[in-house]
C-alpha cells in the first residue's frame, strides 16, 4: 500500500462532511459526496478504501449504495452512520456487509475508533463477506460480535476474532452491568486499546445480562484467547431470540 488510504464520506449535511475532513484529514485522503449519485461517481473514479455513508441520503438510500459498492468491490470497508431512529436498519446494514455503524450524533473519538478499525481491516485485507472461522451455532452481527445460544435458553455474547484483529493491544474493558437490559444494536462492551481509543462494540441480541466474564477485567487480552472458552463477554437471557436472530449472520 502506497501513500495515504482514501476515505469517501457521504452525507447530505455539509457540517458532517466538514468535520470528517477536519478530524480525518491529517491521516487520510478525505473525499466527500453530498448524495448517492455523486458518491457512485467518486466510487468508480477514485476507488476509495473506506466509505462512511449516511443511511438516509437524497437520491438513493445508503443501503442501496452499500449493496452496489460491495457488488463492485467486495473488499470495500463501509461504515454507515445513522440517526437513532434507524438502529434496526443499521443492524440490517451490518447483515448486508457493512463493517460498522455509527449512530449520530457521534463524538470525534467514536469516529476515530471506527475509522481506526476500518483502516486495520483494509490493511489486513479482511474479507468481510466470506465466512470467518466462527464456530458452528454462532450468529454474527456483521463482522463485529457473535451470539451463541446455549441449551438452557441463555445466550453467550462475544467479540469476533476478525474484529479483534483490527484492534491494538486491549488494555481495558467496560463490561455491562449484571441485570442491565441490552438491545440489539446497542452497546455491548467498550474495549480500551493501547492507541488511546475506546471501541464500542454493538450487541448482537437484546436481553438481560445474567453474567459477565469478570476475568477480562484483569486480563483484557484473554478476549483473543481462542483456545479456552473464556472468550465470551456476557451471558444474557434473550428477550426476543426468535425475532432478532434473523438479523444476524449464521456461521
Amino acid at each position: 500500500m502506497t501513500g495515504k488510504l482514501r476515505i469517501l464520506v457521504v452525507d447530505d449535511e455539509q457540517v458532517i462532511l466538514d468535520s470528517a475532513r477536519k478530524i480525518l484529514g491529517s491521516d487520510l485522503t478525505v473525499l466527500t459526496a453530498p448524495d448517492a449519485e455523486a458518491a457512485s461517481q467518486l466510487l468508480a473514479a477514485e476507488a476509495p478504501d473506506i466509505v462512511i455513508s449516511d443511511l438516509v441520503l437524497p437520491g438513493a438510500s445508503g443501503m442501496k449504495l452499500l449493496d452496489n459498492a460491495l457488488e463492485h468491490d467486495p473488499g470495500l470497508v463501509i461504515i454507515l452512520t445513522t440517526g437513532f431512529s434507524t438502529v434496526e436498519n443499521a443492524v440490517a446494514a451490518l447483515k448486508h456487509g457493512a463493517f460498522d455503524f455509527l449512530p449520530k450524533p457521534f463524538t470525534c473519538d467514536e469516529l476515530l475508533s471506527s475509522v481506526a478499525r476500518a483502516r486495520r481491516a483494509v490493511e489486513l485485507r479482511l474479507t468481510l463477506g466470506a465466512r470467518g472461522p466462527g464456530e458452528r451455532g454462532e450468529f454474527h452481527l456483521g463482522v463485529q460480535t457473535w451470539a451463541r445460544p446455549e441449551r438452557d435458553g441463555t445466550v453467550l455474547l462475544g467479540v469476533t476474532e476478525k474484529e479483534l484483529r483490527t484492534l491494538e493491544r486491549i488494555e481495558g474493558v467496560e463490561l455491562p452491568e449484571i441485570g442491565a437490559e441490552l438491545r440489539q444494536g446497542g452497546r455491548l462492551v467498550t474495549l480500551l486499546t493501547s492507541d488511546g481509543l475506546a471501541h464500542g462494540m454493538w450487541s448482537p441480541l437484546g436481553g438481560r445480562v445474567l453474567a459477565v466474564n469478570n476475568a477480562l477485567k484483569d486480563a483484557p487480552e484473554l478476549l483473543r484467547d481462542a483456545s479456552n472458552g473464556a472468550r465470551f463477554v456476557a451471558r444474557i437471557q434473550p428477550s426476543d431470540l426468535d425475532g432478532e436472530l434473523p438479523n444476524l449472520i449464521e456461521s
Partner: protein, 517 residues
C-alpha cells in the same frame, strides 16, 4: 319515533279498555233486560191469577157478562193490551177486544203450541214457557202469557154446561201486554250505559296518555335529548335518573356507558397524543441529529487538540458535556417513540417488582427512602413484556423517590394483588382477572390541576432534572399491555399509582378447580 310508541301504547290500551267496558256493558244490559222481563212475567202471572180467581165464581155460575165485565175492567189498565179466554175448540169466548169475540184459532197459535208440540199434549208447563214475546201487526213489541184453565170438581158437577171429567184443560186465559214501557226503560238504560262506557273509554285513554307521557315518554325524551347532545360530541352529558324502574335503569346504564365512553375517549386521546408525539420525536430526532453531530464532532475534536490549555479545555468540556446531554435527551425521545411492547410472555409479577426495586435501591437509599413490599402470594402470571414492565416500575419508583422531601426521605409501598377485571378489554372472553400493582409514596403529592397533565409527554415540574417523558412512557407501555393506569394523589400526603394488567390466561372457575397436571 317516540310519539309512535306512545300512539301504539294508547291505541292498544284504549282497545283493551273498549273491549272490557263493552263486555261489561253488555253483561249489565243483558241482566237488566232479564230483570225487567222477570218483573213483567211476575206481574203478568199475578194478573192472570187475579183474573182467574176473580172470574172463577162467575164462570162457575156461567155468567159470561160478569166475566166480561171483570176482564174489561182489568184490561183497561195501563199497559194491558188484551185479555182473552179461549175455549177448548180454539174459540175466543171472551175478550177485551170486542172484534175478537167468536174468532177461532187452532192448536198452532201461540196460545196453544206450548202444550201442543208433542203427540201427547202437556198438562202443566212452567211459567217461563208460558210467556212469549212477539210483535203485533202494528210492530209493537208485545208480551204474552197464557194461563190454562183447568177442569175441577165444580165444573163437571155443574149442571149448566157439561165438561166431562176426563177433560183436564178447559180453556186458556191469554193476556198480552205492550212492552213499550219496558223497552223504553231498556233503551234509556242502554243509552246511559253506552254514554258511560264511551266516557270511561275516553277517560281511560286520557289517563293512559298522561301516564305514558309521564312515566315513559318524558324520561325517554330526556335520554334521547342527552343522546343527541352526546352525538354532537358533548360527552359530559348525564341523564337525570329519577326513578328506579326499568327506565331509571336505562338511564343508569346510559350514564354508565357514557362514563366508559369518556374514559375510553380520554385513553384514546392520550394514546393518540403519544403516537403523534412519537412521530414528532422521531422526526425531530432525525433533524436534530445532524447539527448535533456537527457540534459534537467539532467540539470533541477541539477538546482533543486543546491539549494543556486548561481554560479552553474547561470551556470545551462544558460544550461536549452539554451536547452529550442533548444526545441523551434525543435518545430518550427516540426510546419513547419506539416504545412498542415487543414480546409478551407469562411472567410472575412479583419477580418484576423485585428486579425493579433492585435497580432503584441504591439511589433511593441515599435519599433515605425505603421500599416496603407487600406482595400477594400465589398470584397468576401476567401476560407481559418483562423488561417493559420493569421500566414502568423503575419510572414510578424513581418518581416516587423524587417526590420525597429532601432531608427526611419517606416510604414507598409496592403492593400486588389479584382483582376482578374492572372493565379491562376482554368482556367477550368471559370473566377475567387482573393483577393490580400499586406504588404508593409518602411524597409531596400532585396538585389537582396537574393530575390531568402528568401523563403528557414533556410535562415535568423538575426543571432540567426531568424530561417529563417518564410517565408518558409508562402510560404507553401499560396501554400496549391492554392494561390500565390510574393515579390518586393528595398534596402533602402522597401519591398512589395503580396499574392493572391482564393475567396470562383467563381463569375460568373450571380451570381453577382442576388439579394442575
Amino acid at each position: 319515533m317516540t310519539s309512535k310508541i306512545s300512539h301504539k301504547l294508547i291505541v292498544g290500551v284504549a282497545g283493551v279498555a273498549i273491549v272490557i267496558i263493552g263486555v261489561f256493558a253488555w253483561v249489565i244490559l243483558d241482566s237488566q233486560q232479564r230483570l225487567l222481563l222477570s218483573d213483567l212475567e211476575r206481574s203478568a202471572n199475578q194478573l192472570s191469577a187475579t183474573i182467574k180467581s176473580s172470574t172463577r165464581d162467575d164462570m162457575m155460575l156461567n155468567r159470561p157478562e160478569a166475566v166480561q165485565g171483570i176482564i174489561s175492567t182489568i184490561g183497561a189498565q195501563d199497559g194491558i193490551e188484551k185479555v182473552r179466554i179461549f175455549n177448548k175448540e180454539g174459540r175466543i169466548i171472551l175478550s177485551t177486544d170486542p172484534e175478537d169475540a167468536g174468532k177461532m184459532v187452532d192448536k198452532k197459535t201461540e196460545a196453544c203450541y206450548v202444550c201442543h208440540t208433542a203427540d201427547q199434549p202437556l198438562e202443566r208447563v212452567p211459567v217461563s214457557e208460558r210467556v212469549r214475546i212477539f210483535k203485533t201487526a202494528q210492530g209493537v213489541s208485545t208480551f204474552g202469557i197464557i194461563d190454562p184453565i183447568y177442569n175441577e170438581k165444580g165444573c163437571w158437577q155443574s149442571s149448566c154446561h157439561a165438561h166431562p171429567k176426563s177433560q183436564t184443560v178447559l180453556g186458556v186465559l191469554d193476556i198480552t201486554m205492550s212492552m213499550a214501557d219496558v223497552e223504553r226503560a231498556a233503551r234509556e238504560g242502554r243509552a246511559r250505559l253506552v254514554t258511560f262506557a264511551l266516557i270511561a273509554v275516553f277517560a281511560t285513554g286520557l289517563m293512559i296518555y298522561w301516564l305514558v307521557g309521564r312515566v315513559v315518554l318524558q324520561p325517554v325524551r330526556r335520554i334521547a335529548a342527552v343522546t343527541r347532545k352526546v352525538a354532537e360530541g358533548d360527552l359530559s352529558q348525564k341523564v337525570d335518573v329519577r326513578t328506579s324502574d326499568e327506565i331509571g335503569k336505562l338511564g343508569e346504564s346510559f350514564n354508565d356507558m357514557m362514563q366508559k365512553l369518556a374514559d375510553a375517549q380520554r385513553q384514546l386521546l392520550q394514546a393518540n397524543k403519544l403516537a403523534s408525539v412519537g412521530r414528532l420525536a422521531a422526526g425531530v430526532a432525525h433533524e436534530i441529529n445532524n447539527p448535533l453531530t456537527g457540534v459534537l464532532t467539532y467540539s470533541s475534536f477541539l477538546l482533543k487538540r486543546a491539549g494543556k490549555d486548561s481554560e479552553l479545555k474547561d470551556d470545551l468540556d462544558v460544550i461536549v458535556r452539554e451536547t452529550k446531554r442533548c444526545r441523551e435527551i434525543v435518545k430518550g425521545l427516540l426510546d419513547f417513540s419506539r416504545q412498542s411492547v415487543s414480546e409478551r410472555h407469562p411472567v410472575p409479577v412479583n419477580d418484576i417488582v423485585h428486579d425493579a426495586c433492585r435497580i432503584v435501591k441504591n439511589p433511593l437509599s441515599t435519599q433515605k427512602t425505603t421500599i416496603v413490599l407487600n406482595l400477594g402470594e400465589n398470584l397468576p402470571l401476567i401476560h407481559a413484556d418483562a423488561s417493559r414492565m420493569q421500566q414502568v416500575l423503575v419510572n414510578l419508583l424513581v418518581n416516587a423517590g423524587d417526590a420525597m422531601p429532601e432531608e427526611k426521605g419517606g416510604t414507598i409501598t409496592v403492593t400486588t394483588d389479584l382483582v376482578d377485571d374492572a372493565g379491562l378489554g376482554g368482556a367477550s372472553q368471559g370473566p377475567r382477572e387482573a393483577v393490580r400493582i400499586r406504588v404508593a409514596d409518602t411524597g409531596s403529592g400532585i396538585e389537582k390541576k396537574d393530575l390531568d397533565k402528568i401523563f403528557e409527554p414533556f410535562f415535568s415540574t423538575k426543571g432540567t432534572r426531568g424530561n417529563g417523558l417518564g410517565l408518558a412512557i409508562v402510560w404507553g407501555i401499560i396501554e400496549g399491555h391492554g392494561g390500565r393506569l390510574t393515579v390518586e394523589s393528595e398534596v402533602g400526603k402522597g401519591t398512589t399509582f395503580t396499574i392493572l394488567v391482564p393475567v396470562a390466561r383467563p381463569l375460568t372457575a373450571e380451570s381453577r378447580n382442576r388439579p394442575l397436571p
